[in-house]
Amino acid sequence: MKEKTKAGTLLVLFAFLFVAVLSLHPFGRPTDTRMDDYLIQNGQLETGCNNIVTSVLFDYRALDTLGETTVLFAATCGIFAAFLGRKR
């Protein structure tokens, strides 16, 4: 009975997310692309690299990339500390 309740809750969540996703723009036709169009038009000139994704990663959203490498670094540190502490 409990399992069924859980499954029911998950199904309700499924329905909600489904409706939310269906009310997005249809796949392949994004509606509001001002920011991305600006980047495609000006990214090459402003950063000097052909790959717009790279220019977004390392210039326009460099703080995110910094945070992401920090996450990797923190994870390595955490793994290291956990294993070292256990060794003692």
């Binding site: 909600f16 994004p30 460099a62 540190c77 956990a82």
Partner: protein, 512 residues
């Protein structure tokens, strides 16, 4: 002046850079490493104080990361780059967070000394990363950066929970990791929904667009984000990770995790008040108020039978989060025009946020000190510690009175504001709050009686080191200060912050 101009970026960059250099610095020796950590955090604190002085006067400090001119935010009429926004509210929380981080670093000088020295540089690295992540959380004005910093914070705190390397600590860290990964992935899902609709990631820009057109998509994204942030803050139906993590982590890490829960509440308020203020359904405020009341009740009643001191404080922290949600949720119900009682509830909630950090931090540090001097966490085992270290008993008593909301501690003023104004909206909620306070006092009287009074503890009791005492004394001073001069704190810190929250146009206009 150049320091002030770059202050939002520096507040993130200084702890981050210090964290990355810590493993190299620690090759030079323990003392140098500890000094390095404390000095870098002190510098970051200085930067944050400067930023706060600038911002609490009422203006919004905007910093566009990587732009040729930092104040140049929107090139083509909308923001392209990541934008850091510091208004009075975010300056307030970043000030609190950085102070707590500094105190945690000072406290851990002696506390961590004997815990496996091999990995201690990792400990300090993760501590500094936690501080950097907290700064990022409180200062960011961009949804995706918010997600990234939440991940930074949760991964480094998971690493720190597991730091004592017992089986239980791994278990607690695993649970925390599962929960927080789920939460932040659903947060990212909500951010994706917003991006799909508006094509932007900046909070202020989205707020500008939201007011014109909204649909089920906004509601779904808002609910996903709010529930993920409630998970991070440990409100009631999803509070179970909190006592587990609090029990196992070192005390000074726990006070930073406590600050993180309040920061995620802050982010939730930011999203509700500043971004979705105009389209927010009325149910949102009621939901938060009801969850807050439930948090108070469940947290308090679960704290009652606990035996482990830090686990008990974890449940008490759930209850304290509930008070903040009660106050701020009442402000949220009256959102379009907040004044009178609603304004008082909101500022009471924000004031209680700060008091909550101070009170519970002092309590946790005292609990950590009890653990340090006796090596016991079970409150059944220890007793009569007041004979050995009276100052510790006094500090514990201050924190206990403050948590229970007794005058003249800081907790009283904020709780008074919350009770009064919530009573105006719904007396039942206020009664639950007062009942919670009474039971909190009962719980802590019990703990005080069994830990500090009675027959002296048989085992060996060590001296309390000076650095740990210093950190606790600073917290106690601020608790008493906010209790005796509540109006000073309100005028200087809280009211500007509350006004920054209820006035989304200033926030949006500062960026776009």
């Amino acid at each position: 002046m150049i320091l002030l101009e770059h202050a939002p970026a520096l507040a993130i960059a200084v702890p981050l850079l210090a964290a990355l250099a810590t493993p190299l610095v620690s090759k030079a020796g323990k003392r140098i490493r500890n000094l390095w950590v404390i000095l870098s955090l002190a510098f970051a604190e200085f930067v944050v104080i400067m930023l706060g002085r600038d911002v609490l006067a009422g203006n919004v400090h905007v910093y566009s990361v990587g732009a040729s001119v930092p104040s140049l935010t929107s090139t083509g009429g909308f923001p392209i780059r990541i934008i850091l926004v510091a208004d009075a509210m975010s300056a307030l929380v970043s000030l609190a967070a950085m102070s707590i981080a500094l105190l945690a670093a000072i406290y851990s000088w002696r506390f961590m000394e004997e815990h496996h020295s091999l990995g201690l540089d990792k400990f300090y690295t993760l501590l500094l990363l936690l501080a950097a992540g907290m700064m990022g959380l409180s200062l960011t004005g961009d949804f995706f950066t918010l997600f990234v910093f939440i991940e930074v914070v949760s991964i480094s705190s998971a690493g720190l929970i597991a730091f004592f390397s017992s089986g239980e600590s791994f278990e607690a860290a695993f649970k925390y990791m599962v929960i927080s990964a789920t939460g932040s992935l659903l947060l990212l899902f909500g951010i994706g929904l917003l991006y799909g609709k508006y094509g932007m990631l900046n909070m202020a820009a989205i707020a500008n667009e939201v007011s014109m057109q909204h649909s089920f998509l906004d509601i779904a994204a808002l609910s996903l984000m709010v529930s993920a942030l409630l998970l991070k803050s440990g409100s009631v139906p999803v509070h179970m990770w909190k006592p587990d993590a609090y029990q196992e982590a070192p005390a000074q890490v726990v006070i930073m995790m406590l600050t993180i829960t309040l920061l995620s509440l802050y982010v939730m308020f930011r999203i509700c008040f500043s971004v979705f203020s105009l389209v927010l359904p009325v149910t949102m405020g009621w939901l938060i108020v009801i969850l807050g009341a439930m948090s108070v009740f469940v947290g308090v009643t679960m704290a009652m039978p606990q035996r482990n001191l830090k686990r008990l404080i974890g449940y008490a922290a759930v209850a304290e989060i509930g008070y903040v949600m009660l106050g701020a949720g009442t402000g949220l119900i009256a959102m379009p025009n907040v004044s009178g009682f609603a304004m008082q509830a909101l500022s009471g909630g924000i004031f209680h946020m700060i008091n909550d950090v101070l009170d519970l931090s002092l309590m946790l540090l005292a609990a950590g000190t009890v653990f340090y001097i006796t090596r016991q966490q079970d409150i059944n085992e220890v007793g009569g510690l007041a004979h050995k270290s009276g100052y510790l008993a006094v500090l514990f008593m201050i924190s206990m009175l403050a948590i229970a909301g007794m005058p003249p501690m800081g907790g009283f003023a904020s709780k008074l504001m919350i009770y009064e104004s919530v009573y105006y909206f719904n007396p039942l909620l206020s009664i639950i709050g007062i009942l919670g306070s009474i039971m909190l006092l009962a719980i802590f009287v019990k703990i005080f009686a069994s830990v500090f009074l009675g027959v002296p503890y048989k085992g060996s009791v060590r001296q309390v080191p000076k650095s740990m005492m210093f950190a606790m004394c600073v917290l106690a001073f601020f608790i008493l200060f906010f209790g005796i001069f509540p109006n000073l704190a309100l005028d200087l810190l809280i009211t500007p912050a509350a006004e920054a929250l209820i006035n989304p146009q200033a926030y949006i206009g500062g960026v776009v």
